[in-house]
Amino acid sequence: MAQMRYREALNGALREELARDERVVLMGEDIGVFGGAFKVTDGLLEEFGERRVRDTPISENTIVGVGVGAAMTGLRPVVELMTINFALLAFDQIVNHAAHIHYMFGGQASVPLVVRMPQGAGHQLGPTHSHCFEALFLHVPGLLVAVPATAADAKGMLKTAIRDENPVIFIEHESLYGVRGEVPEGDDHVVPFGRARIAREGTDVTIVGVSRMALTAERAAETLAADHGVQAEVIDPRTLRPLDLDTILGSVGKTNRCVIVEEGWPHGGVGANLAALIGEQAFDELDAPVQRVTGADVPMPYSKPLEDLAYPHEPQIVAAALAALNLAPTSAGSATGAGDATGSPAGGA
C-alpha cells in the first residue's frame, strides 16, 4: 500500500496504462503543457510525448467525437473534459454517438472510449462549474458510469475503464483530488465495475453515498454511532452503470431502512432511480420509506453561505437516517436547511 492523493492515483493509472498499451492516447484541454486544470495529467506529456498526450482546442463536442472515431478504429482514447458542465457541450457525441454506435450499427463497431470529468460544488465556482450530473449519464443505455470516491478506487477503476470495450463516463470530484488514501501498489490493481464497496458495516440503516457523498456518509455514520448509538452501513456503489443492486438490496434486507445521498438534483436523480428500484424489489424488506438527501433544486449559487446550503452535509444525512429509524434528532446538526436540501419533491419543487 502507498499513501497518495486521489489526483496522484489517477495520474498513476494513466501513466501505467499509457506504458502498458500503445493504443492509449490522452486528449483534452490543457492536459499537456499546463499539466491539467486539476493537475491530473501532470508530467505525462514530458514522459510520453505529444503523440500520446495531446492538448486540444476548446471544442468539447469535437474532442469527444475525435475520441469516438479513434476508438472505433483501434485506439483507446481517454478524453479529459475540464468540468462536468462542459460535458453538456459534448452531449451529442456522448449520447447520439459514443453510446449508440455499437447498437445502431448492429454490433460491428465498438467505442472503447473514456471521458473523464470532475464534478461537484464547494469551491464557489457558481452555476456553470459546480454541478453533479451523474443522473444525466446514468439515464443513457450504452454508457458505463463510474463515480470513484477513494484514491484506491480512482486508480483501479480508471484502469478498468481504459481496458473496457465500452464508452465510460468517468466522473471525478473536484473536492476529492487532494484527499489522501491507501492505494495498492503495482500494475495489477484494477477494480471491476459493478461491485459496490461496503465502506462501513452496520445493522441499523443502509446509507448509499454517491461519489464524494460516500465519504460524507461515512462521517455521518460515525456521528450516528457516537451520538445516537445507531450502526449505519455505508455503501459506495462505485459505478452507477452497471449498478450493484444486489449488494444494496442485501444490505437493505439486513437493515430494513435506507438513505440515499447524492449531490445532484432531486428530480430524476440517482436517488430517485435507486429508491424506485428498492421499492420495486425490496418493498417488503422496508420498515420505513426510503429517504433521499440530495442537492437543492436550484442552479448552484456562488455566495458561500448559499452554496453550502445547496449540497448535502453530514447533519442532513444524520437527520435523514434518524428519520428512517423514526428517531427524532436530539442534538446539533438538526438539519438546518436540510428541509430545503433533502430534495423531497415537496421541499424541492
Partner: protein
Amino acid sequence: MASPSQPSLPAADAAREWLATMTLIRRFEERAGEMYARAKVGGFLHLSIGEEATIVGAARALREDDYLISTYRSHGHALVRGTPPENVMAELFGRVDGCSGGRGGSMHMFDLARRFMGGYGIVGGNLPIAAGIALASDYKGPDEVTLCTFGDGASNQGTFGETLNLAALWKLPVVFMVTNNQFGMGTALRRHSAVTDLQRKGESLGVPGMRCDGMDVLDTHAVLAEAVGRVREERRPLLVEAVTYRFRGHSMADPEQYRSKEEVASWRERDPIPAFADVLIREGMLEQAERERIDADALARVDAAVEFAESSPFPTPESLYDDVYVLSRGSQGWYTVETAGPTPEQLGAAAGVDGEGGQGDGSSSLPLSSSSSSANDEIPQQLTEALAAGEDRERPEGGI
C-alpha cells in the same frame, strides 16, 4: 484552386463500372421510394437521386483501405463501397440481414469490413468522428485517407468549424467533402449560409478548398483524386465542395414548396447518369445495347434486393438487448440492469401478433442482472398495437 479543365476518361472497364454503380444507386433509390410508399420501409427515407456522380466520383478516388464516412443520406455510400444491395434494402426493411442488423435504418447504414464507417443521423455529427478515424490512421502509421461527406447544411454546425480547425492543427488526413445540393432540408443555401462559396468556408480554419461539378462524375473524380492524393501525401486536410442537386425532396415527406418545378426541371436536364453514358458512347467506350444491359442489370439486382429483404426475418424479440454493451468476461450480466423492461415471453407474445417477426420462443434470457416481478404489463399491449398499426398503414402518394 482550379480543377483540371479537361478530366481524362478512365479505362473502359472502370468507366463502365462507374456508370453501372451510378445506375444501381439510381434504381435502388427509386425502388426504395416505392417500398416506402408501400410501408415496407419506416421512418425517414432520404434519397440520393441526382447526386450519384458525387458519390461514385468521390468514392472511386479512394483506395480500398481508405475510410468513407457519410450522413443520413447514405444508401449510395454503402452501395459504392460494395455493400450488397440486398443488405442495404434489408436494412431499410428493418430485417436481421440489414447491414446494421436492422438497428439503424435508412439513416444509419454501416459496413465495417468495407471501411464504410457509417451514415449518421445528426447533421454534422460525423465530422469529429472522421477526424478521429484519421487520427487513428495517422497514429498507427498507414497512409490511409478518410473521406468525410456532409451536406451544405452541415457547414453551419459547430462541429464543422471545430473539426476543420482541429484537423488542420493536428495535420489529419481527411478530405472534407461538402455535397452542396443547394438546400439544408427546405432552406436554400443563400438563406442558410452567409458565405455561399462553400469551398472557402475552411480558409480561416487553415483548410484550403477546391470545387467540383457534382453533376459530372469525371470532374468529381478528377478533383477528388487530386484532393485525396494531396491529403495522402501532405497529411493535412482539404475541403472539397461538390455542387449538385437532389431531384427528389429532402425526404419522402417533403412537398417541395420551397423550390419551383422549373428549377428542378432545369437541373434534371443535367442528370449525371445519361450525361456520362452519352460521353462514353461518344468516345466509343460503350454501345447502346450495353447501356441498356447495364440498366437491366441494375433493375434485376434491385429486384433481387427487394426479394431478399422481404424474405429476411425481423430481428427476434430476444435480440432487443443485444449489443447495447460489449460484454466482456467478468462483467456479463452486470451491464444492463433493466428491471422494468419486458420479458422475452412478453415480447414474444407481442411480436407473434405480427406474424412475421415472432421468431422468439421466449426461452432465451436477456442479459439482465435482475428481473422484476413488477415488469410493466402495458408494454406488450403497446407493442401489439404498434405492430398491428404498422401492418395496416399506407402512405399517400403525395409525399413522394
